[in-house]
Symmetry: C2
Subunit: 268 residues, 2 copies
C-alpha cells in the first residue's frame, strides 16, 4: 500500500524520525524499542522474518526493488518520499533509501529453541553492537542454529547490530537464558556438550577439541575479559585458537567464526 507523503512533520513518519538521536537515548530498548531495517537487503530479510514490519519509509527506486517482497504484505504501508525529505526525517543521508520498522515480538523461549537446535552459540558479556552483529552474520553463514544470551550482552535488535549482521539477527533465532550461570543447565539438560572458548590455562587447540557430538554449544565471552571463571568451570571443554607471534587474540566475532567453521567441518 503506497502512501505518498511530502510533509516532513507528518506524524505517520514518527517511527523513522531522528534515528541517530533516538539511538543515543540511554533508555533503549525499553523506550520505543522498535526494530529498524536499513536498505533493501536487510528490509527483505525483515519481511521474511518473524519481525513483521508495520511500516516502510523510502524512495520510489527502493520500493521497486522491494516490489516482489512486498507483494506478500498487501496492507503494509510504504510511505513514499523524496530522498531529501527522507534525509530530513531520518536525520542523516546514509539511510540507503529505505527503512522498515517493526515492533518487538515476544522473546523466544530458550528451552524450546534448544530442543530444535544442533549447534548454538552462547554469549556472555558481548556488549559491543558491532561484534554482536558480526557474530549473527557468522552464525547464519556457518550453520549455527540459534544464539543464547547470558548477561551483559548488547541488544541484538539495536539498529547498528541489525545493520552489521546484514539482517541476520532477524533470521537466526535467539533467546535469553533465564538465569546465569544456572541457565547453562538448560543446555546440559538439552543434551549439549559445552565448549568454552578461552586462551587460558587447560585449553585444547580448537582443531583437536571439537567433538562430533549431536549437540554442541559454543560459549564465547567479551573481547578482553573473556568468559567468567564460573562459566569456564561449567563447561565440558576449554578450547583455544592457536595464536601466532604472541598476539593477544582475534576479534571475538572472528574467534567465534573459527569455532563455528570447525563445528561444520567436524560435525557434518
Amino acid at each position: 500500500m503506497v502512501i505518498d507523503i511530502d510533509d516532513p512533520a507528518d506524524p505517520r513518519l514518527d517511527d523513522f524520525r531522528d534515528l541517530n538521536s533516538v539511538d543515543r537515548r540511554p533508555d533503549l530498548p525499553s523506550g520505543k524499542g522498535l526494530v529498524i531495517a536499513e536498505g533493501v537487503l536487510v528490509a527483505q530479510r525483515m519481511l521474511a522474518s518473524r519481525f513483521t514490519p508495520h511500516a516502510l519509509l523510502g524512495v520510489e527506486r527502493r520500493r521497486v526493488e522491494l516490489a516482489h517482497d512486498l507483494a506478500g504484505h498487501p496492507g503494509l504501508p510504504f510511505y513514499r518520499v523524496s530522498a531529501d525529505l527522507m534525509a530530513q526525517v531520518v536525520g542523516f543521508h546514509l539511510n540507503r533509501g529505505v527503512l522498515a520498522a517493526a515492533r518487538r515480538p515476544e522473546e523466544l523461549d530458550a528451552t524450546a529453541l534448544l530442543a530444535q537446535s544442533r549447534t548454538v552459540a552462547v554469549l556472555e558479556g558481548v556488549n559491543d553492537h558491532e561484534n554482536l552483529g558480526s557474530i549473527f552474520r557468522n552464525a547464519a553463514g556457518l550453520d549455527v542454529d540459534a544464539v543464547l544470551f547470558g548477561p551483559g550482552c548488547a541488544d541484538p535488535l539495536y539498529r547498528r547490530a541489525v545493520r552489521v549482521s546484514m539482517g541476520h539477527v532477524l533470521l537466526v533465532p535467539f533467546a535469553r537464558l533465564p538465569q546465569w550461570p544456572q541457565g547453562l543447565r538448560l543446555l546440559r539438560d538439552g543434551g549439549f556438550t559445552l565448549l568454552a572458548m578461552t586462551p587460558g590455562e587447560g585449553s585444547v587447540p580448537l582443531s583437536e577439541a571439537m567433538p562430533d557430538d549431536a549437540k554442541v554449544a559454543i560459549l564465547v565471552g567479551a573481547e578482553g575479559p573473556g568468559l567468567t571463571e564460573t562459566v569456564l568451570r561449567a563447561a565440558d571443554l576449554r578450547v583455544r585458537i592457536p595464536m601466532a607471534r604472541g598476539t593477544d587474540s582475534l576479534n571475538v566475532a572472528t574467534a567465534a567464526a573459527l569455532a563455528f567453521y570447525e563445528r561444520v567441518r567436524v560435525g557434518s
Copy 2:
C-alpha cells in the same frame, strides 16, 4: 626525551594536528603520508616495528605506561601535554592519550619477502580500511608471514587501518606486486601454490582443498565483486567456505581468517 608543551600552536605538534580533517584529504598517502599509531598497545607495536616513530604526543599517564618501550629510543621526543591540549591539537577526544608518528620507510620488495615466507595473503581490490586492518590482525594471529597487494587496495598505513589491525600492519610485512596479474608469476616462481577464495563455479570446500604444500598463497578479493576472472584463471585451486541457508557470504576478513586457520590446521 620528555618535552613539556603548553601552547597548542607549537609547530612541533604539527604532525599530530587536526587528524580527522587530514584524514579527509583526498591526497593521502601522497600528502604528508605519516603513519600514526593510537594508544599504548599500537604505539608499543610501532616502537617494535620497522616504522620507527620520530615523535610521540601524549599525557603523562600514557608516557609512564610506555616507559619500558621508550627506554630503547633515548633521543625520541615525547611531547607531554594535558588531555585538554591534546584533544585541541588532535581535533577529537577519543585519542587514547598517546599518539606516535612515523615517516613511511621504503616499501619492501615482493620477491625478497616471498623468499622468506611460507604462507602469504594476496589481496585484490580490498578497498575498505576496516576490512584491510582486520585482515592484518587475522594474518598476525593465524601465522601468515606476509601480505601482498594487487591493485585497488586501500592504504594499509591509513590511520583507521592501523587502528583496526591493532598495529599489526606495522608488524606483518607487506609489499606491492609490481604488475597485475603478471606479478602473480613471482608467486609461482617462488614455489607458491595459489588458492583463490571464491564462492563461484568450480570451487572446492576449504576443508577439502587446503594443500599441505611448503608454500601457499591465499588470494582474496573485495567483498561483493570478489576476485577478477583473470586472477581466478591464474590460480591453482578455487576454494570456498560452505555457506549455510543461502547466505551471501561472510565478511572478507572473516573469510580470509577461515582460510588462514585452515592453513595452520593442515600445514602445521
